[in-house]
């Protein structure tokens, strides 16, 4: 196929990472969806710009009894029946672009952008926690085997047996009341670190299992034997020899995990145990929009569509990444059985 770059750049070009990158570059669909994800990230990062320069209001500012001039005509932000103003696009020079969000008359567009920040921050941070813990546990269990493996694997079994949503809701309720004390650090109940930690922890077993499986097979390979023969200690073998061979799996899992965690965050926030009011996230916006779904369905449809697009872009890109990193598709099954497992958010 694309043979000429190899000749042009010499042997370095055939490193696995470059080969993967080249395969990824040929996957137009995956790149397209990566582009979509980047667009969404830019959209939420632009929240302060839009808020200060266009909408002139913050995400939690209420405008219940105010009027707004739309195309020269004064209109209630929230009419006497409690019905919020619908999308006015640029009729009020960017104010209430998507209308107001309900009785409180907050700017839906500003909340959508700030809410997206919160949702993405939770999705990405919790995925980092899940990935770090799962990699660590997977490495320890797969490398040491025996008693270490038993302790870790049984603990994972317990978390696994726990209905995920029930566990997350239970933790969410408990921690939203009292906050969390980890050593000297106190996290208050309304902090977004509570859902980040909860989601980060409950998803660990789904990733740790397949990683452990891979470590179990990797540690039998000759390069591990060679490292041990050279006198490398356990830490060196785990982090210097095994970890580099896990990177491709980890990156794929991480991408798909963000998608999954976004869905779990939206479910928790919808149920009131994730992001706490008045702060917005796409999940809380669906929850508040749902109260007005018959009269203002867009308030539900829009934040949900944002979640759908974000999760979709990550899922498609993650699949493409997997195909690029492992063309033999060996991790494919385990990855599916473990990661894309929608159980946690499903129901």
């Amino acid at each position: 196929m694309a043979a000429e770059p190899i000749a042009a750049t010499g042997p370095a070009a055939s490193s696995p990472w470059r080969l993967a990158l080249r395969r990824l570059r040929r996957n137009r669909i995956a790149l397209g969806f990566l582009g979509l994800f980047v667009l969404i990230v830019v959209f939420v990062l632009a929240a302060p710009l839009w808020s200060h320069n266009v909408a002139h209001t913050g995400p939690n500012d209420t405008h219940t009894l105010q009027k707004v001039e739309v195309d020269g005509e004064k209109r209630d932000v929230v009419n006497p029946e409690g019905q919020p103003i619908g999308p006015v696009w640029f009729g009020a020079s960017g104010k209430f672009f998507l209308g107001a969000d309900g009785r409180l008359g907050r700017d839906e567009m500003v909340r959508l952008m700030y809410g997206g920040r919160t949702s993405l921050l939770i999705g990405i941070s919790s995925a980092l926690i899940t990935t770090a813990l799962a990699t660590l546990f997977g490495l320890l269990a797969g490398y040491y085997r025996g008693a270490t493996d038993s302790v870790i694997s049984r603990s994972m079994d317990v978390l696994w047996a726990f209905p995920v949503l029930l566990l997350a809701i239970a933790l969410g309720l408990v921690l939203a009341v009292g906050g969390l004390q980890i050593g000297p650090i106190h996290i208050s109940g309304g902090s977004i670190w509570i859902p980040i930690l909860i989601i980060g922890v409950v998803m660990v077993p789904y990733m740790a299992r397949p990683i452990r499986g891979e470590v179990l097979s990797l540690r039998e390979k000759e390069f591990v034997e060679a490292a041990v023969a050279q006198g490398a200690g356990s830490l060196r073998v785990m982090f210097g020899e095994l970890l580099p061979n896990l990177w491709s799996t980890i990156i794929v899992f991480f991408t798909l995990n963000i998608a999954n965690n976004l869905l779990l965050e939206s479910a928790l926030s919808f149920l009131g145990v994730g992001v706490q009011p008045p702060n917005a996230s796409w999940g809380t916006m669906i929850a508040s929009g749902n109260d007005l779904i018959t009269s203002a369905p867009l308030l539900t449809i829009i934040p949900g569509t944002m979640i759908l697009l974000t999760v979709l872009s990550l899922n498609v890109f993650g699949d493409g990444l997997r195909d690029a990193l492992d063309p033999r598709s060996k991790v494919r099954l385990e990855a599916h059985a473990g990661m894309a497992e929608p159980e946690g958010t499903a129901v």
Partner: protein, 319 residues
């Protein structure tokens, strides 16, 4: 084989024990949630609180309280703090609605998941595969409760095609039973169908590359026979595993779906209990749900061990 099954059963009990301890601990570290205080109400006298504390045993040591609670769960004497109803009876009442929802949805998602996955794999790379992939990945990427809310708005409130939630007994009116459950079934099935079709597709593609499939073709078997006897049989293994886990987890309560479609099943009961930090029902429901997860997990393992002796021998490495 008997030893393997025995070991799995012991493991099951150990996991359930750990799950119950974990649940108990989570709810005993909640600050400001003295159940006696809540049960006594707003204008409680200290004497009333003290008598409730004594009567319900909240002054016992935690291990003692745990043992008492577990004994009540299994003897059917567990009473909830809110509403003071018998927890086990309430769960049994919820079973028909939850099981109707889960079993119906499972039939739909298995049918479409396997059909779509099969067509995708057989036509891998073609337009049919691409279309089905788009549908499947979109299905996986939607928040279920959002889809449910939108279905309800457009198919029930606006057009009145389907009844607005609720549950009708199968035994009294089977047609109304199905009519009330169609939307919840479809909503729940879309997610899993998308997911299963993706898993089956990649599993089939892997199997179709195996040597024994080439051998089967080489010895002149018809394509249909190769597919049914050699490819499908082996590709369905991951589907069976997943189904065991997913179905088990669902029986523990489809919290969001039941809530939105006003089905008063186990998931709905769990959510109410969680909101009231009402430990007895939460404990019973968590154990109920975990029991099915662990049970289906063990059944899948035992089925594998029966089919493949290598798994039995390497059972200790079985995570």
């Amino acid at each position: 084989m008997a030893r393997f099954i025995l070991r799995r059963l012991v493991g099951m009990v150990a996991v359930l024990f750990a799950v119950s301890v974990l649940t108990f601990l989570i709810f005993n570290v909640i600050p400001n949630s003295d159940p006696a205080q809540r049960m006594a109400g707003k204008q409680a006298t200290p004497e009333l609180v003290a008598s409730i504390t004594k009567e319900w045993g909240f002054d016992d040591s935690l291990p003692q309280q745990y043992v008492t609670m577990m004994r009540k769960v299994f003897s059917g004497d567990l009473i909830s703090y809110e509403g003071r109803e018998n927890v086990d009876e309430k769960i049994v009442e919820g079973i028909p609605e939850t099981f109707s929802l889960c079993i119906g949805a499972a039939v739909i998602w298995l049918f479409f998941g396997i059909l779509f996955g099969y067509l995708s794999a057989v036509r891998a790379g073609g337009w049919l595969d691409k279309t089905l992939t788009v549908i499947a990945v979109t299905g996986i990427s939607m928040p279920v409760f959002w889809l449910a809310a939108i279905f309800l708005n457009y198919l029930t409130y606006k057009t009145e095609i389907f009844p607005s939630g609720g549950y009708v007994e199968f035994t009294t009116e089977p047609i109304e039973w199905a009519n009330h459950l169609i939307l919840p079934w479809i909503t729940l099935a879309i997610l899993y169908a998308g997911f299963y079709s993706r898993v089956l597709r990649s599993s089939m593609l892997d199997v179709m590359g195996e040597d024994y499939v080439r051998t089967a073709r080489a010895k002149g078997l018809s394509e249909q026979r190769v597919m049914s006897r050699h490819v499908m049989r082996n590709s369905l293994i991951p589907i069976v595993t997943l189904f065991g886990l997913d179905f088990g987890a669902l029986l523990g309560g489809a919290i969001l779906i039941e809530g939105i479609f006003s089905l008063e099943g186990i998931g709905q009961y769990a959510y109410e209990a969680l909101k009231n930090t009402d430990l007895p029902p939460i404990m019973a429901i968590v154990l109920f749900g975990a029991f099915f997860v662990v049970l289906f997990n063990a059944l899948v393992d035992i089925a594998y061990a029966y089919l493949d002796p290598r798994i039995r021998l390497g059972a200790s490495a079985n995570g």
